[in-house]
């Protein structure tokens, strides 16, 4: 299966977001792929406020089934969330459960004025009433495949497809 070029999708996504970014807009990336994208967007869109990062492990709805994610990174929101216009960034939008967790976590920092969502790829199959405001590409993928964004040593991003590991 031919996968789109992640770098080209990111360029298109950047253009779609650009006109909506004001000096008060803050970007928040979701670990891991969303943070790589957010770092690039933050630079290319010349955002002034610092970049936020979220690890939603403490807010996931499957903790009681699968336990804690093996590698939890600290979330870092280095600005006041209260009253801010936030763009949340993730690599692959799928069931919507990660975004639900991320929104819940953001509200524990304060009440934002608005939250918009940007995703590099929307692969459909939503299980929550969540939609992205900005999408690089829509893709339909078999259920047993996992789409992952990866970053090479030189910083270049690429999309890769894997067989989903069935839960134990």
């Amino acid at each position: 299966m031919n996968l789109p070029d992640a770098e080209q999708l990111l360029a298109e996504l950047t253009d779609k977001i650009r006109s909506d970014v004001t000096k008060d807009t803050v970007l928040v990336g979701i670990y891991t792929g969303g943070v790589w994208l957010a770092e690039r967007l933050h630079k290319d869109l010349e955002c002034t406020p610092p970049l936020g990062t979220l690890d939603v492990s403490f807010y996931r709805d499957d903790f009681h089934e699968i336990g804690l994610h093996p590698q939890v990174k600290p979330s870092n929101i280095p600005f006041e969330v209260e009253g801010r216009h936030i763009i949340l960034i993730d690599d692959v939008l799928y069931t919507g459960r990660t975004i639900r967790a991320a929104i819940n976590e953001l509200f524990d920092y304060g009440r934002p004025a608005s939250i918009r969502l940007a995703a590099l790829v929307d692969r459909g199959a939503r299980e929550m009433p969540i939609a992205a405001n900005y999408v690089g590409a829509d893709m339909v993928l078999p259920e047993d495949k996992m789409l992952a964004l990866e970053q090479k040593d030189n910083g270049k991003l690429s999309l890769n497809l894997y067989d989903k590991i069935s839960p134990e």
């Binding site: 336990g67 804690l68 093996p70 600290p74 524990d108 304060g110």
Partner: protein
Amino acid sequence: MNNPQLNKDGKLQHLLTTEGLPAPILLKILDTAESFVGVTQRDIKKVPLLRGKSIFNLFFEPSTRTRTTFEIAAKRLSADVVNLNIAASSQSKGETMLDTVNNLSAMNADMFIVRHSQSGAAHLIARHVRPEIHVINAGDGRHAHPTQALLDMFTIRRYKHDFHNLRVAIVGDILHSRVARSQIHALTTLGVPEVRVISPKTLLPTKVERLGVHVYHDMEQGLKGVDVVLMLRLQNERMLGARLPSAEEYFKYYGLTQEKLALAKHDAIVMHPGPMNRGIEIDSAVADGKQSVILPQVTFGIAVRMAVMTILAGN
């Protein structure tokens, strides 16, 4: 060797002691605690991880700080916490410890946090409870106090970043100290190349060298060039026995003063598990000085206990 703390998948089922726990498990607790430090600094210091879980603080021995930090940690994970001061309840009416545990299990407890004056109490409870219940040892006799040792390791890593090039000195009453035992096991497992114990002969367990530590009876010698000084509480109740002549004399030889601390590295940190006896094991000028990280230890203790509870509940 069968480790009663681990389940059949090698994951942490109970936390009873740092002895025999593999480094990756210790490091995972420390790494997870890093994320909880961020949570405890927010306006809303709560995450929904243990919503609906019931955690029982079973304290058969008095404790304020440890019980409070476990309670805060559990509440910040959204669990329901019940504090039982057993010394003042059923046991005084003649109920056995395991009957108390059975009754609380029948109330659908998910986790027990156990403090007991008898070594092995938490271990006994862990072997007794149903497999879905987790047990955390919050101090048993002279044996172990693993969450204290883990928060100490967390604090050391925060300030010193790497365990592999450190000299660490543990000073005081090693003989009666469950904290010291848990610290020694954690430090050696995490790769600290030189762990020293500094203590009068009367307050040192026999053959303590077998734990991989270097013994010093002279505090000036022992503090030379160390990166971390771990002070222990001199338990007042031991002062009257034959082990020590007087508090004044103990302070003279084993109390941490600015002059003695100057023999350690200039950026050495000073830690103490509390409660402190000022003027007995530590001088106020050191306890409140710029090298002291005693209050950060308390703050990190909550994040570390949140991490332990979360990892246990998830396994």
